[in-house]
C-alpha cells in the first residue's frame, strides 16, 4: 500500500501549525543573558566623504556600551565583503571589484550605507544615541540611474571603475547574428526597462552575534537562506574565523525571495562587536532599513531585436542590456545579469543565433542582486514582449508565432546557442493545455462585452523556461562561480525507527519540513510524523549551499535520495544478517526487507533497532548504526517551463488595469506535493503581477529613495489578483536527477510579468500602443490613451 503521505500527496504543511500560531522562532525572538542591541548610523546622502565621526555625545547617552566605526574595523583587520562570482569583460579583463566594507571607510555611496554602529542596553537607547553620533559629511555629486551612470559627465561611484562600468560582457556569436540580420525579411525591435524592485520579505533582516571567550567560539544567528555560505564568506574573508570556531544558525526565516542569500555587513558587525564588547549583540532592521539596505532586484534597461524570415521564423536575436548593480557588488550580483539572464535568451524558441551584450554599472543606490527569478524574469520579459511585437511585424497571431518557433519536444535534448542544454519540455503541450483554461476562443466575445461597458479587454501570453537546480559545480566554476553548488544530506535512523534528516537546503517558507519528509515516508514506509527535517545550523548539518534558484528539491532532494540509497544498502546488509540470507536475495519495497520467495521479512524499524543493539553483528563486516551522509552535485541544470495566460480589463477613464483571469500551466517535472507547488505558483504569480502593475523602486536623481515605505511602494493585495487557474503536467520529468524534479519556486514570478504586460498592450492596441514599461500604473495607462484619443478602432464603431 502506498504511503498516504508519500510522493504525490497534498500533505498539509507540517510547519504551518507553528507559523500560524505565532510559535515560529525567528532571529529577533532569540534573547541571551546580557544581550545588547545594535543600531546603525546610516548615511542620509547618496554619495559623500566622511570627514569625521564624533561619538562623544552618543557615548555619554544612557545605556550606551560602545560606538564603533569603520576605522575600528580597519584596525582589527576586518576585510571587505567578498563577491562570490567573477565575470570577465569582452576584452578579457576581470570585473571591477571595489572594497565593500561592513562600516564605510571614509566615503559613503548610497543612502543607507552604514558609517557607525551604536550598541546599547536597549534598542531604544541605541536609537536615541545613534541620533547623537555626529558625522561630518561632505556631499559629493551622485548618480542613481544606469543610463546616467554611463554618461561621460556622471559622478564616479568608485574611482577605480572608470565610466562606472563594473564589466562589459557578452555571450553568443555576434558574426552569425549580424549575418542573419543581413538576410532577414522582418525585424522586430523593442526598447524596454525592467523596473527595479524591493524584495519585501515579511521578516526584516536580523543578526545576533555571540562570542564565548572560554573556547574562542563565535555564533551568528541570522536571517539567511544559506548559513554555510555565510560561515564561509564571513569566516574566511571578512573576520578571519576558522569554520570550527564559527557556528552560523539560520532559524525560522520569514521569507527571503533571494534577498537573504547574501552576506550582509550587519552580520559581520554583530559577530565582530560581540567579541569586542564581550557581550551578545543583536540587530534587527526596521522596515525603513529594509527598504534602504536589502539588496534590490532587476533594474535593466535593454534594447532587443529579432530577425525573422518571411514566415515569421526566428533567425537571430540581438540584445543589449544595461544592468544597475548599485553601489557595491552584493554576493552574487555579477552572475544575475549574465549567466542567469543571457543564457536564458533562447527561451522556448529554436532561434539559431543569439548575441547578448551586458554592461553592468555602479550607481549610488542600494546593491542589486538576485530577487525571485534572478535574471530569468528579465530574460522572459524581454523575449516575450519582443515576440508579441514580432507577431505584429510578421502578421501572425501571437499563439501561432510561438508555435512556429517552439523547440519541438522531439528535439530534446536541445542545445541552445547560449550555453544551455535543455533536457526535456513540451512547449506546444503547455500552450494546448492553457488555451481552453482561459477559453481563448471566447475572448473576442468577452472583449466585445467589455467594450459595451466602456472597458478595454486584452489577453496576453508568456512562455518561459528557466534554468534551475543550480548548479553543476564544474559548469558554474567555468563560468566564474567561486563556490561549488552541490548539496548535502544526512539521514539518521534512530533506534526506535524515527528519522532525522539533516539537509543543507534551507526553508524560509518553501515547506521543506513537509516535502522532504514525504520523500522519506515514501521510501521507507515510515509515518510522516516520525520524520524530522533539520536545517539551518552549521553545527548540525554536514554542509550546505542553501536555498535559492528553485534548487532545494532538485539538488537538496537528490542529495537526500542519495543518502537514503546508502541507508537502504546498509539496512539490506543488516537484514541479510538477521534473516540469515544472502544480501542479493533481499528484496526491498517501501521499507520492507524480504527474503525473495519467502515470507521472511523485516521492517526498517526492526532493522534500525538492531543497528543500534548489535548483539551478534559480524563486526568485521558490519558496523553498528544506521546513519548515512551524501553529497549530490547535479549533472545539468533543470528546466522548468510553462505557459502563462493573463486577461485584463482596463478602465479608460481612470487607466486602472484589473487582472480578471490568469491561467498558469507549468511543467515542473515530477511533483512531490501538489498543494505546496500550487502555493508556490500562487505566490510567484502575485509577485509577477506586482512587478507588472504595482511595484516600482524609485530613486530621485540625487539618489534619495522616493519609495521607502508602503505609503509609496505598492505591494499587490489579495483583492488585486483573480482566482488563479493552475495546472501542471508530469510527463516531461527531468532526465538527470533521481526524482525527475525541476523546481517550482520562481516560475510564477518569471512568467507572470510578461503575460500581464502582453495583455495590457493587447488591450491598448486599438490606441496604437505597442509597448508600455512596467509598472502599468493607472496614470501611465491613462496617458497613452489620452495621447491617442480618439482610438481609430473605437471611433470606427
Amino acid at each position: 500500500m502506498a504511503n498516504p503521505n508519500g510522493i504525490g500527496a497534498s500533505v498539509r504543511r507540517l510547519e504551518d501549525q507553528r507559523f500560524l500560531t505565532g510559535r515560529g522562532r525567528y532571529t529577533d525572538d532569540f534573547k541571551r543573558p546580557d544581550m545588547t542591541h545594535a543600531v546603525h548610523v546610516r548615511s542620509p546622502y547618496a554619495h559623500a566623504l566622511v570627514k569625521g565621526i564624533d561619538a562623544t555625545e552618543a557615548l555619554a547617552a544612557p545605556g550606551v556600551v560602545a560606538v564603533l566605526t569603520g576605522a575600528d574595523m580597519e584596525a582589527d583587520k576586518v576585510g571587505s565583503l567578498p563577491c562570490g562570482w567573477q565575470i570577465h569583460s569582452k576584452d578579457g579583463s576581470p570585473m571591477k571589484e571595489p572594497g565593500h566594507f561592513p562600516l564605510a571607510r571614509g566615503r559613503v555611496r548610497y543612502v543607507g550605507d552604514a558609517v557607525a554602529v551604536v550598541i546599547a542596553e536597549t534598542r531604544e537607547q541605541a536609537r536615541d544615541a545613534a541620533e547623537l553620533v555626529m558625522v561630518d559629511y561632505e556631499e559629493l555629486p551622485a548618480v542613481a540611474s544606469s543610463t546616467r551612470a554611463v554618461e561621460g559627465a556622471a559622478a564616479l561611484v568608485h574611482d577605480d571603475a572608470p565610466g562606472n562600468v563594473c564589466f562589459d560582457w557578452h555571450l553568443g556569436d555576434k558574426a552569425a547574428v549580424d549575418a542573419a540580420f543581413a538576410r532577414a525579411e522582418h525585424v522586430a525591435r523593442i526598447d524596454l526597462v525592467n523596473n527595479r524592485l524591493v524584495p519585501n520579505a515579511m521578516e526584516p533582516r536580523a543578526a545576533l552575534g555571540e562570542y564565548d571567550a572560554s573556547n574562542g567560539e563565535y555564533t551568528l544567528t541570522t536571517t539567511s537562506q544559506n548559513p554555510h555560505v555565510i560561515r564561509l564568506l564571513m569566516g574566511a574573508f571578512v573576520l578571519g574565523i576558522p569554520e570550527h570556531k564559527l557556528r552560523v544558525v539560520a532559524p525560522d526565516v520569514g521569507g527571503g525571495f533571494g534577498s537573504k542569500i547574501f552576506h550582509y555587513g550587519e552580520e559581520a558587525v554583530v559577530t565582530w562587536a560581540a567579541r569586542k564588547i564581550g557581550r551578545p549583540v543583536k540587530w534587527t532592521a526596521d522596515r525603513s532599513e529594509s527598504f534602504l539596505t536589502d539588496a534590490h532586484g532587476r533594474d535593466h534597461v535593454s534594447h532587443a531585436e529579432m530577425a525573422m524570415d518571411k514566415d515569421g521564423r526566428f533567425l537571430a536575436l540581438r540584445v543589449s542590456t544595461l544592468a544597475n548593480l548599485g553601489a557595491y557588488l552584493s554576493t552574487f550580483a555579477p552572475s544575475i545579469p549574465t549567466y542567469l539572464y543571457a543564457t536564458l535568451l533562447a527561451g522556448q524558441y529554436k532561434t539559431p543565433a543569439i548575441y547578448a551584450e551586458v554592461k553592468a554599472v555602479f550607481t549610488n543606490t542600494a546593491p542589486v542582486d538576485a530577487y525571485r527569478g534572478a535574471g530569468r524574469p528579465e530574460a522572459c520579459y524581454l523575449i516575450e514582449r519582443l515576440v508579441d511585437i514580432a507577431a505584429g511585424v510578421a502578421g501572425l497571431d501571437r499563439t501561432e508565432i510561438r508555435r512556429r518557433n517552439f523547440v519541438p519536444a522531439e528535439a530534446m535534448p536541445y542545445q541552445t546557442p547560449v550555453a544551455l542544454q535543455y533536457d526535456t519540455g513540451d512547449f506546444a503541450k503547455n500552450l494546448d493545455i492553457a488555451l481552453p483554461l482561459v477559453d481563448y476562443d471566447g475572448f473576442a466575445a468577452r472583449k466585445a462585452a467589455s467594450r459595451a461597458t466602456g472597458k478595454l479587454r486584452g489577453i496576453g501570453f508568456a512562455t518561459y523556461i528557466e534554468a534551475c537546480g543550480i548548479a553543476p559545480s564544474n559548469v558554474a566554476g567555468a563560468l566564474g562561480a567561486r563556490a561549488g553548488l552541490y548539496e548535502s544530506a544526512e539521514v539518521r535512523f534512530h533506534p526506535t525507527g524515527s528519522v532525522t534528516v539533516f539537509t543543507g537546503s534551507h526553508s524560509h517558507g518553501q515547506g521543506h519540513e513537509t516535502t522532504f519528509a514525504q520523500l522519506v515516508a515514501e521510501r521507507f514506509g515510515v509515518p510522516i510524523e516520525n520524520v524530522e527535517i533539520v536545517h539551518g545550523d552549521t553545527a548540525k548539518i554536514p554542509f550546505g549551499m542553501g536555498t535559492y534558484g528553485s534548487r532545494s528539491l532538485a539538488v537538496g532532494g537528490s542529495a537526500l535520495v542519495k543518502a537514503m540509497d546508502k541507508v537502504e544498502r546498509k539496512a539490506r546488509k543488516i537484514a541479510a544478517h538477521m534473516l540469515e540470507a544472502a544480501e542479493s536475495d533481499i528484496e526491498v519495497k517501501e521499507g520492507r526487507f524480504t527474503v525473495a520467495g519467502t515470507d521472511k521479512s523485516l521492517g526498517i524499524g526492526d532493522i534500525a533497532l538492531q543497528a543500534y543493539v548489535p548483539h551478534n553483528f559480524p563486526l568485521d563486516e558490519l558496523e553498528p548504526g544506521l546513519d548515512e551522509q551524501a553529497f549530490y552535485d547535479p549533472k545539468n541544470f533543470t528546466y522548468p517551463n510553462g505557459c502563462h495566460v493573463c486577461e485584463v480589463e482596463i478602465d479608460p477613464d481612470t487607466g486602472v488595469t484589473k487582472v480578471v483571469a490568469f491561467a498558469a500551466v507549468d511543467d515542473f517535472g515530477r511533483i512531490i506535493n501538489p498543494l505546496v507547488v500550487e502555493g508556490q505558483v500562487h505566490g510567484g504569480l502575485v509577485q509577477g503581477i506586482g512587478q507588472a502593475l504595482y511595484e516600482n523602486c524609485v530613486y530621485d536623481e540625487s539618489g534619495q529613495l522616493l519609495t521607502g515605505s508602503y505609503m509609496d511602494y505598492c505591494m499587490p493585495r489579495a483583492e488585486d489578483v483573480p482566482s488563479f487557474t493552475v495546472r501542471t503536467h508530469e510527463d516531461q520529468p527531468c532526465t538527470h536527477n533521481p526524482l525527475g524534479v525541476k523546481g517550482c519556486g520562481e516560475a510564477g514570478t518569471i512568467g507572470a510579468s510578461a503575460a500581464v504586460m502582453n495583455a495590457v498592450v493587447d488591450a491598448l492596441s486599438a490606441y496604437g500602443v505597442t509597448h508600455l514599461d512596467m509598472p502599468a500604473t493607472p496614470e501611465k495607462v491613462w496617458r497613452v490613451i489620452q495621447a491617442a484619443r480618439p482610438a481609430p478602432a473605437l471611433a470606427a464603431e
Binding site: E124, R127, D128, E131, S288, D653, T654, Y694, V698, L706, T707, Y710, M711, D712, Y713, C714, M715, D720, T777, P778, E779, W782, R783
Partner: protein, 263 residues
C-alpha cells in the same frame, strides 16, 4: 519612538487640563500619529489618549441630521444603522476609509483635526453643511480646513463632535492610491434643494469645492451634465503616483461616479 508621558483622562475637562503641558498631543485612533512617532518625526512630551471619554463617542440623530462624537471610529460610522438610514453616503465613505485595520482604529475627530489632504472625511465635512463642535465653540465646516494639515483649531482646542446636515441626496467616490489606500482624488456630491455642493479631497493641498462641477450639477443634476466639464490642474497636488493633470481629470471622473452612487 521617543519617550513620552502617556495619559488616559476620563473626562473632557481632564483632557483639556492635560493638554496644557508643553508639547502635549491628543491621541485619537493614532493612525497618523503613531507611525509618525515610530519614525521619530514627532517628539511630544505627553500623549493624551481620548479613548476613555464617553462623551466623545457615538452617533446621535438630531434635528436635520446627525451628530457624531469625535472619538467614533470609522468602522462604527460605516456600520451604524442610524448613519446608513439618515446619510447613507457618509456611512459609505467611512466604511471605505483605508483598510479594515485603519477603520477599526481611526476616528472622525482625529481625521479632521489632522487634516491630511488625502483623507476622506474632509470631503464630507465640507459637502454636508457641517458644524464642528469643540470644547469651546462651534466652527462651520466650511471654515474648518485652512490648508495642508491646517485647521481653524487652536493648539489646545479639542474637537468633540461633528454635526452633519441630512442632504436630499448624496454620493461619494474616490480613486484610491494603490499603495497607501488614501484618496488620490475623492469627490463628495450633496444636494440640498436647489443647492449642490461638490467637495474634493486628495486633489489639492486641502479639501475644496469644485465650482464648475457645482454649477453644472445645479443646472442639471445628472452625471451626464459633467461631460466635458474640466477642472483646472493649476495648484493641484503632484507626486510620483499622480500628476496634477491626472488628478484634475480624475476629479470629473470621480464626480460622475459619485453621481452614480446617489442615495
Amino acid at each position: 519612538m521617543y519617550a513620552f508621558s502617556y495619559q488616559r483622562p476620563k473626562t473632557l475637562a481632564e483632557a483639556a487640563n492635560a493638554l496644557k503641558a508643553e508639547d502635549a498631543k491628543l491621541l485619537g485612533g493614532g493612525q497618523t500619529l503613531l507611525p509618525t512617532l515610530k519614525q521619530r518625526l514627532a517628539r511630544p512630551s505627553d500623549l493624551i489618549d481620548l479613548s476613555a471619554i464617553p462623551d466623545l463617542k457615538g452617533v446621535r440623530e438630531v434635528a436635520g441630521g446627525l451628530e457624531i462624537g469625535a472619538f467614533t471610529r470609522h468602522a462604527e460610522v460605516g456600520q451604524s444603522e442610524v448613519v446608513r438610514r439618515v446619510i447613507p453616503a457618509l456611512a459609505g465613505l467611512a466604511g471605505n476609509i483605508g483598510d479594515r485595520q485603519v477603520r477599526h482604529m481611526g476616528t472622525l475627530g482625529g481625521s479632521i483635526a489632522n487634516a491630511d489632504p488625502a483623507a476622506d472625511y474632509p470631503a464630507a465635512v465640507v459637502a454636508l453643511k457641517t458644524v464642528v463642535v469643540t470644547d469651546r465653540r462651534e466652527i462651520p465646516g466650511d471654515d474648518f480646513f485652512t490648508g495642508m494639515f491646517e485647521t481653524a483649531l487652536q493648539p489646545d482646542e479639542i474637537v468633540t463632535a461633528v454635526r452633519f446636515t441630512k442632504p436630499d441626496q448624496a454620493g461619494y467616490a474616490k480613486f484610491r492610491n494603490p499603495a497607501s489606500r488614501y484618496a488620490v482624488v475623492g469627490v463628495f456630491v450633496a444636494k440640498f434643494g436647489a443647492e449642490v455642493r461638490v467637495a474634493v479631497t486628495g486633489a489639492g493641498p486641502s479639501v475644496f469645492r469644485a465650482d464648475a462641477l457645482e454649477a453644472a450639477l445645479a443646472a442639471d443634476f445628472r452625471a451626464e451634465a459633467l461631460d466635458g466639464v474640466a477642472v483646472d490642474a493649476d495648484g493641484l497636488n503632484a507626486d510620483i503616483h499622480a500628476s496634477a493633470e491626472y488628478r484634475a481629470h480624475l476629479v470629473t471622473v470621480m464626480a460622475k461616479r459619485a453621481m452614480g452612487t446617489l442615495e
